[in-house]
Symmetry: C2
Subunit: 238 residues, 2 copies
DNA sequence: TCAAAAGTGTTATCATTACACCCATGG
DNA sequence: CCATGGGTGTAATGATAACACTTTTGA
């Protein structure tokens, strides 16, 4: 049943960049292997066409779940890619979304449409289909920038985590060898957005305190800070 | 000459949020009055349909020039709006771009397709067509956030400006009554991204030094800072 | 000579950095 | 008893915030 328009229209897709942290706090990205041409057998970002009645964000979440089984994730719009020629089949606009998930809590299922899905280390990526490498690069830059002024990192960790894990997470995302432990801990605890919830057990070293991210305190701080900014203003900060 | 597809496709548009500063450093936004239904006679963001061979950004710049005569602007993608129902004519996806211009250097022309275009003070906006108020709100939030860590403000000023103008600009964008003059000047000059280029003349008070933004120094600082971040890391900064 | 902005010196406080050492656990 | 990460005290340095006063111009 064909659809007819007076002017030509591009196709509209969504693509998802899903980041996860593995057991040793390495940053990974979720890719699927294409079964059809173009780029048959190449790895690509999960994604697909937007339904006519469907919100863009909903489409991204749906495609993600259909192709990888992953759901219930923190997800934000990244950018919209629309270069003519980015898809050999014709003009295709892609709205990209990125998400952060705790890898352990989001095992990938045998995907419903039988595409292969797998986590890849960012340092060992295969060649990607379409302009997906470019999209991925932008996503990495986005989370690197964002992690510095918004607590998105907590999405990657299990609900309860140690300061050691948190520090490794920052080191991974920022691509830094080693942050100063003393200063990291001072800063993060002085911020007051963590609450102590217990003590680690069963490790072969001094057990660490377990923390949770305190959403309420964070929201409160944001509000306070907003007042502050109105008073203080500029924080140009390059 | 109709175009036919196997699946329905949404229409694709771009919308532009153009900010300008008037003589007294008030922030304004450029709107056009719609000549046709839907929302006939209502004010709206300049924008329109994307051509099939045309980059999204190019489309935004083209629509802007066609409808308002404004060109050669700093422009960045803001967000893509795609709620079903945001346009009564059917599914329409809009990629929004925001731009900052020096109002004095960008007088609006009698627009080529005879739509009325005008600058509006943000405190005195008319009711806007479609979801354009929502788009505008997001744009304002974006520049408020961005002006704090990137020197986008300079796009709004004439090439040469005084520290007084620069300070008013920050006060305007941030919506603050009065920043501390002494501290503002210390901070901005210590950053070292301004170069002195002359002295004001013909004013009824002590003439101010004129400055230009020093792109090269800024790029250099960015690079240095990148090294720094790799070393230091976190700057969570709420 | 007055109004209107431009421009500066200094101090208290707070955050950041850079150090090196002790602690608790399982194996 | 030792390897492994967890956890702290503190001093030097630099940035920020909060003050009020002097300077230069055209009208």
């Amino acid at each position: 049943m064909p659809y007819t328009y007076d002017y030509p229209r591009p196709a509209l897709t969504v693509d998802c960049i899903i980041f996860g942290l593995d057991e040793s706090q390495q940053l990974k990205v979720l890719l699927i292997q294409r079964l059809k041409d173009p780029f048959k057998n190449k790895w690509a970002l999960p994604g697909g066409f937007v339904d006519m009645e469907e919100d863009l964000r909903t489409a991204a979440l749906r495609e993600l779940e259909e192709e990888t089984g992953v759901r219930d994730v923190f997800m934000e719009q990244l950018f919209t890619f629309g270069q003519p020629g980015r898809d050999p089949r014709g003009r295709v606009i892609s709205v990209a979304y990125y998400a952060l998930v705790n890898l352990a809590e989001h095992p990938i299922e045998a995907a419903t449409d039988a595409k292969e899905a797998a986590w890849f280390n960012l340092q060992a990526l295969p060649a990607l289909a379409f302009d997906h490498q470019e999209i991925l690069d932008m996503a990495i830059n986005r989370i690197r920038a964002k992690v510095r002024y918004q607590p998105i990192g907590f999405e990657l960790l299990p609900e309860q985590f140690t300061l050691g894990q948190l520090q490794k997470l920052y080191e991974t995302i920022l691509g830094v060898k080693e942050l100063n432990k003393r200063n990291f801990r001072s800063k993060i605890t002085k911020m007051g957005v963590l609450k102590e919830v217990g003590i680690q057990a069963g490790v072969a070293h001094r057990p660490a305190k377990l923390y949770e991210f305190d959403q309420e305190k964070y929201q409160q701080l944001l509000k306070d800070r907003h007042q502050d900014v109105l008073k203080r203003g500029l924080d140009f900060d390059i």
